[in-house]
Amino acid sequence: MSEIVDIKELNERIQRESAFVDLISIEMNKVIIGQKHLVESLLIGLLSDGHILLEGLPGLAKTLAITTLAKTTHAGFSRIQFTPDLLPADVVGTMIYSPKKEEFTVKKGPIFNNFVLADEINRAPAKVQSALLEAMQEKQVTIGDQTFKLQQPFLVLATQNPIEQEGTYPLPEAQVDRFMLKTIIHYPKKEEELMIVRENLSKNFPEPNAILKTEDILKARDVVKDVYMDEKIEKYIVDIVFATRYPAEYGLPHLKDMISFGGSPRASINLSKAAKAYAFIKRRGYVIPEDVRAMCHDVLRHRIGLTYQAEAENMTSEDIINEILNTIEVP
């Protein structure tokens, strides 16, 4: 690292600029009870310009979480319910012929919004999935002969149901890789559920306040990029990702037969971005190993392919990540 970084100044700047994170968290916590990890993942996706694949059972406040985030940030929101008969045009938009004007006009689809909830993404066929995933990657959509840039910030929150796999179209590995994070959400705790019930039965369901504008998010993204990441941390990240590809070289020969493919370079990039964003929401101007470890599961769990042997031995990608984290020396 040859660039000269004034960490003290950077730290102070980040302390200042990240103040809104606490405010967003407060507003979201007014509406979303529990699911701290989900809220954190949304913020990380938002701050590091990544998309999130959410896996959880129905009724765990996935839609509520993203609508609340949209409300707190003055951003546009749309929800697409993925079904087997959905067409790419239903997502991105289409050309409609106007008999009055005697010409084709563009009808933009729901993707032209800041926050898009792709509900049950695996229920639509591959062509619809790829239309969405292409837009996610390119951040632009072509309808007819016109190309339209998508609004910024642009965050896709796709959901998958871990049960009811019948009649679904599982996302191919190459497309899953485009999601920065795959977050797994679980049931709330007993006392949290009690509060959820009470809040839903009360006459005044809490409404979040708008804290910041979309421009503030774009500004915050620039600050996140400035978060200092030491060379040791970079090496630590690369070691973790390499261990998913060549476990034997990292003292984990028994994982060799369990992994069919490991994390791509996109995994290293996204782990670095997510670690920086995590340091930012923890209001730090530099990344520490704790940040990397905190983001490791969400960034890597959908990027590790398991072999039949691993499935036969009931080994999950979570187990593999845990073993890797418990083996690679922390800098």
């Binding site: 730290n11 020969p253 037969d257 530099y286 520490i288 418990n326």
Partner: protein, 327 residues
């Protein structure tokens, strides 16, 4: 008269030679015997042909291939056995025989050829005939008409020759199983078959103190290499924690290490706080390019020594050792 004399002389000679041949022949005895005279149908018994004769004579035994007589089949032919007995030779030829037809049989007299090489005489001796009965299974005469179960074949006694193949198969199966296990461990599991015994290491505190001494002597922070200094200092402390407390400190973050000590009562509060301060300070230097004062660097080193010395295992001296020391 002369003719009568000549005839008498010839008769005397013939009688003389005849007597001497008869004497020699009398020294040769042959016999054919069976182990039993009542043989159960299908059962096996031995038929022995025996000849006792002087060493100067030669005896030729009758030769059989498949049967001795009709209905007396040969199962096995043993090698002839020769024994010296009172200056004579005794040759025994043994046949294992069986019969599958009930009835009374006679093994007729058998021809044994006797030769006297010195005189060039050749003669034949006949054995005594042998009689035997082949019986069917005895019928139950009391309940003659009663319906009875089919009897199982009589089991022959188990011989080692029958057992050895099974022992061999068993051993072969064991060898194959061991080889399969060996190959599985070697290639599938990639685990060593015979794991090496670990050589006992030096005590953790000895290694840690030596490393701290080396770091101190190298005057790393004095040269301005703060990051290097704190990296090595925390590595020594973390390795010591791993070896001394079996906490995987090398693979844990500073927070994880503090958490591990927080849950157990392994450290005093003072040591816990100092450890936390030192690890956080080191993290600042390592990951946030922080610069520390000389006092802080010395304080960190002092803490590292203090931490190792206060947590090293205490040696408990036996009473005899103390007495020896006192002497």
């Amino acid at each position: 008269m002369i003719r009568q004399k000549q005839y008498n002389i010839f008769l005397i000679l013939v009688l003389l030679f005849g007597v001497s041949a008869q004497q020699l022949k009398a020294q040769v005895t042959v016999s054919v015997k069976m182990d039993t005279v009542r043989l159960l149908i299908g059962d096996q018994t031995k038929l022995r042909m025996e000849a006792v004769f002087p060493a100067s004579a030669l005896v030729g035994f009758p030769i059989f291939a498949d049967t001795i007589i009709k209905n007396l089949e040969i199962v096995n032919i043993a090698n002839p056995d020769t024994v010296k007995e009172n200056g004579n030779l005794k040759v025994t030829q043994e046949y294992t025989v069986t019969s599958f037809d009930a009835g009374t049989y006679e093994v007729p007299p058998m021809n044994f050829t006797v030769g006297f090489p010195k005189s060039g005489r050749l003669d034949t001796l006949l054995s005594v005939p042998v009689y035997f009965i082949v019986m069917t299974m005895p019928l139950d005469t009391v309940t003659r008409n009663a319906i009875a179960d089919i009897k199982k074949p009589i089991e022959a006694p188990l011989t080692m020759a029958e057992v050895w193949p099974y022992v061999g198969y068993g051993l072969a199966v064991l060898v194959i199983l061991f080889l399969a296990y060996f190959l599985y461990m070697k290639f599938a599991r990639k685990k060593p078959i015979f794991e090496k015994r670990e050589i006992p290491k030096e005590p953790a505190h000895i290694i840690a103190l030596r490393s701290l001494d080396a770091l101190n002597e190298e005057k790393v922070w004095q040269r301005g290499e703060l990051k290097e200094y704190y990296s090595r200092l925390t590595e020594v402390v973390r390795r010591y924690i791993e070896d001394r407390f079996q906490i995987p400190a090398m693979e844990s973050t500073s927070d994880d290490i503090i958490d591990a000590f927080r849950s157990g009562g392994l450290l005093t509060n003072e040591l816990k706080n100092d450890l936390f301060d030192t690890l956080v300070r080191a993290d600042f230097v390592k990951f946030a390019k922080a610069t520390t004062l000389a006092d802080e660097n010395e304080e960190s080193m002092k803490f590292a020594y203090n931490f190792v010395l206060k947590t090293k295992p205490v040696e408990i001296l036996r009473e005899e050792d103390e007495i020896e020391k006192g002497d």
